[in-house]
Symmetry: C2
Subunit: 558 residues, 2 copies
């Protein structure tokens, strides 16, 4: 009996993972992976760090942790399956169960028969059709070749414009700054990572970018690129920026032509639709990785969030199902993390805005806290925003930013969200504690308790954005700074009145009873305490400023 034939189109993360796992589960099945390029099984996520110069040999992105190159020979000898590189799939014949492939070097075409076909066709950068987009020096970053190109250009470039404030835009901006290049970042929305972060959190990232010299041009969009042969400048509706290098990083779209031509269903996001077994509308065809859309675990909606972490999971699930071991992929939370100069920012689940759009009665809070015991060397603050549903008290999402350890806390929330935890359950998690790793009440537990206090009506509070908006609208808010005089001297919010928390109970007559009082401190804890003191003294119009000075994304007096 002839062995079952599995053909996989796409030889990067999801495709190769599917092939490897398939072989482990089944010695006899015939497995062939094909890829248009010869740079198979490379990691795209580290490419910005190559440009930054953090590792020297670009091939590293194709090596295992112990340095073995993941080429066709490796996959043949160590993993036990065949890979055809420089081979393009041009059509799927679902009736005959064959795919037409063409060797890009010889031009030779052939039909490969399959019993099961796996589409792992990935994504491709979106490149807008604007004047000058074809000029030399205008690139996207997706392939190893493009990384090499940018690295070469960066050797002589004096100024660069990055179009798009997503993950790749931020990472490459940092890389080029470290290489001494003047960087302008152009983002048509009023914030970076607009679909991932709420404005207040994004604003703290903007501050960090500016601090390190990135010229942040928000709410400004690319009109055309100018130059003779080679890029010289970028023109927006507001100005013109000289550039030897332009990175187009406005997003990616799934590669779905093959699927579409074969009448395989696409989803609402435009990516390939799959069921929980990673099967497309044709049960003999699976799809994995960056070409498929995902189920958002919280909202239940379809989303398109292509990430290497998801691609790997897809590969395992698809291979299991193909081998007759049923497994379902539950979906994603849209978890992301990115280092931006000296801070990290991470998010998971729904943002406050998304939660409202999805019909939740969402309550959110920001807190600031040290990441580890404040007296242990290296302790740094983080700002946490937590979103929960008022009715069920279930967590909906989180965003964390700061110089301290952010990824650990986001992964705690990822775990909590994956299991449907309430904010009350989170607050009781027995997280590990020792001074080098956490505070006795970890920052994330403090934030959960702060959110419970807000949900339970013990206190009310305002985001920095709300405070700022009200002030701009001319509202006469009494900004009550309850820090120490020494802290006040160092840095303060313009127009605030200083009454240290310890003195507040005796100086209540200095606080107006006819206006909104907004107490705050460095983090948020004394501000919260001050609100309690005022409420207990009969003040009825008090709302502390969440996250204090550390989370305040606007100007400060120094």
């Amino acid at each position: 009996m002839e062995s079952r034939k599995i053909v996989i189109i796409g030889g990067v993360a999801a495709g190769m993972k599917t092939a490897c796992r398939l072989r482990r589960l089944d010695a006899d099945v015939s497995i062939t992976a094909i890829d248009r390029t010869s740079d198979i099984s490379y990691g795209a996520c580290p490419l910005p760090y190559y440009i930054e110069g953090l590792f020297e040999n670009l091939d590293e992105v194709r090596r295992t942790p112990v340095g073995v190159l993941r080429d066709e020979i490796f996959f043949k000898n160590a993993k036990g399956f065949d890979t055809l590189t420089r081979t393009e799939a041009t059509a799927i014949n679902r009736d005959q169960k064959t795919i037409r492939v063409r060797n890009l070097d010889s031009g030779e075409q052939q039909d490969l028969p399959y019993d099961i076909l796996v589409l792992a066709t990935g994504n491709t950068p979106i490149v807008p059709k604007l004047p000058g987009i074809e000029l030399n020096g205008v690139v996207a970053l997706k392939t190893m070749k493009q990384a090499q190109q940018i690295d070469t250009m960066a050797k002589t470039a004096k100024s660069a414009v990055i179009v798009g404030g997503g993950l790749i835009g931020l990472e490459v901006a940092e890389a080029l700054i470290h290489r001494g290049i003047k960087v302008t970042l152009l983002e048509m929305k009023d914030q970076i990572m607009a679909t991932a972060l709420d404005f207040g959190i994004a604003s703290l990232v903007h501050r960090e970018m500016r601090k390190h010299g990135v010229d942040m041009r928000l709410s400004e969009s690319l009109q055309r690129i100018e130059g003779s042969g080679k890029v010289e400048r970028v023109v927006t509706e507001h100005g013109s920026y000289s550039a030897d290098l332009v990175l187009i990083a406005i997003g990616v779209r799934p590669v779905v032509d093959l699927a579409q031509d074969a009448d395989i269903d696409l989803g609402v996001t435009g990516a390939i639709a799959v069921n929980e077994q990673m099967q497309t509308s044709d049960p003999c065809i699976y799809a994995v990785g960056d070409c498929v859309e995902s189920n958002d675990i919280i909202s239940g909606r379809k989303v398109y969030v292509p990430l290497g972490s998801t691609a790997n999971k897809h590969g395992r699930v698809a291979a299991n199902n193909i081998s007759g071991q049923p497994e379902r992929f539950p979906g994603i939370l849209g978890s992301m993390a990115v280092k931006v100069f000296d801070i990290s920012v991470a998010r998971t689940g729904l943002s406050a805005e998304d939660a409202l759009l999805n019909g939740y009665d969402a309550v959110s809070i920001r807190t600031s806290a040290p990441d580890i015991a404040h007296l242990y060397p290296g302790s740094k603050p983080i700002v946490i925003k937590l979103v929960a549903d008022r009715k069920t008290r279930k967590l909906l999402g989180a965003q964390i930013v700061g110089p301290g350890v952010v990824d650990k806390r986001i992964d705690v929330i990822v775990s909590a969200l994956s299991m449907g935890a309430t904010v009350d359950q989170l607050a009781q998690f027995d997280l590990s504690y020792a001074p080098p790793f956490a505070t006795a009440m970890d920052a994330i537990l403090q934030c959960a308790n702060a959110l419970r206090n807000k949900m339970d009506g013990l206190v009310d509070s305002m985001s920095p954005a709300e405070v700022c908006q009200r002030l701009e609208q001319g509202e006469d808010i009494f900004l009550l700074d309850v820090r120490s005089p020494a802290e006040f001297d160092e840095v303060r919010i313009s127009g605030a009145t200083l009454i240290p928390l310890g003195a507040l109970r005796n100086r209540l007559d200095e606080v107006p009873r006819d206006r909104l009082v907004a107490p705050f401190c460095k983090l948020s804890m004394r501000g919260f305490e001050a609100q309690i003191v005022l409420q207990q003294a009969g003040f009825t119009n008090v709302r502390y400023i969440e996250g204090g000075i550390v989370a305040w994304p606007y100007e400060l007096e120094m």
Copy 2:
């Protein structure tokens, strides 16, 4: 109407947290905290780091993150309640609802009436009644005064003996080594942290301690301490160790005399028994912090694991219940983390041994993996041991050790355990990924998948301990090293045969079919692959060595 009186005995973490929260919830209640010492509200966990010299002013352990000293005045002015220091509670009169207190300076006694009493009497170090224990230079570490004492002695001490390989013993051993003192660590069990870690994980800690010069004396117990006035040497059943300083760190016991004298129920562990509302057998008396026993969430058994993180949670729960806001404390997982020189070790839930003792059909696995993308600077390995129940597939516990980031992964498992996750659910967590923070499949997800492979019968494997034991018993195991020749040259397990994974399919005739074959590599992945290759080639007696060279705690050839 007179206000309700709350009296709290014990002014450190749990007591003060209870008082602070109570005041926030209720402006009118009368709150008095009393403490025997004047060092109230200090953090005991950072004391070893003071001895190490990581911060200069001991008072820091009593300061808030912004530097305010948490003394009586702070609690009065900022937190709004009274604290009586140097005041000892000598008896509880439950009928009259009063406690008898004595001022330790004036000797004056009085009866304080209470409506609700909160016991936060903490723990005290266990000091064995052995000859010489009273000598100068023999100390425990619990109070600020003792930390000061050890710091002073360390200025001149040449050698120290630490009795007990628990958290404090390990931390102080490191502190004293950093101060140039010769350190011997005496532990009567055959491993450090015996109730918290399995032997194989503990062995990796032993290696790190030895590497940094700690003379590890395991399975050896203190017999007597000798010296004239001042300690000179420590004598065990195996030898004698000179010492200018002896730290007794064999454990702590709850302080329960007051409760016991008042006929308040103690639990099976000897600590005060409380319900989920933190109420003792007398509904008007609550108990919180290190004097109470906890419910182990996984096993349902009562345990005594006093930790600052738990104490803080207790305080909030007790205060809520006292104020009429019902809340329950669900229990603990025994989560712990400790830094030991250049590695970290953390654990949560049940160890493999405990799981078996508790009647689970426990399956466990060890994996080794880089903590972040291997090509990102600073990537370091970690070894993860995961324990799950074969029947329900629920996670039971984890232990993680290594130079890489350990605390993040243990907190993911804490979150998973808190919500009753299965290993299959864990494997699908959408953890955040970017090269500076994780690998595309995070180490903890890799470990979950490895455990699934084992539970599903895809492969079988052995712990390093099992391999070692079988070899010692004379079993003729074929140790198959599937790394590269370069890796083999650098370091290897004695007696192993090298066949690189990529060559294995063509060199199967070099592998015996009549003996147990144990493939391994640096981490565990190629070892696992090799097992698949062998099984698919008809080998029936193959079990890879979990965690590879990185998790191998025994001697290696270099």
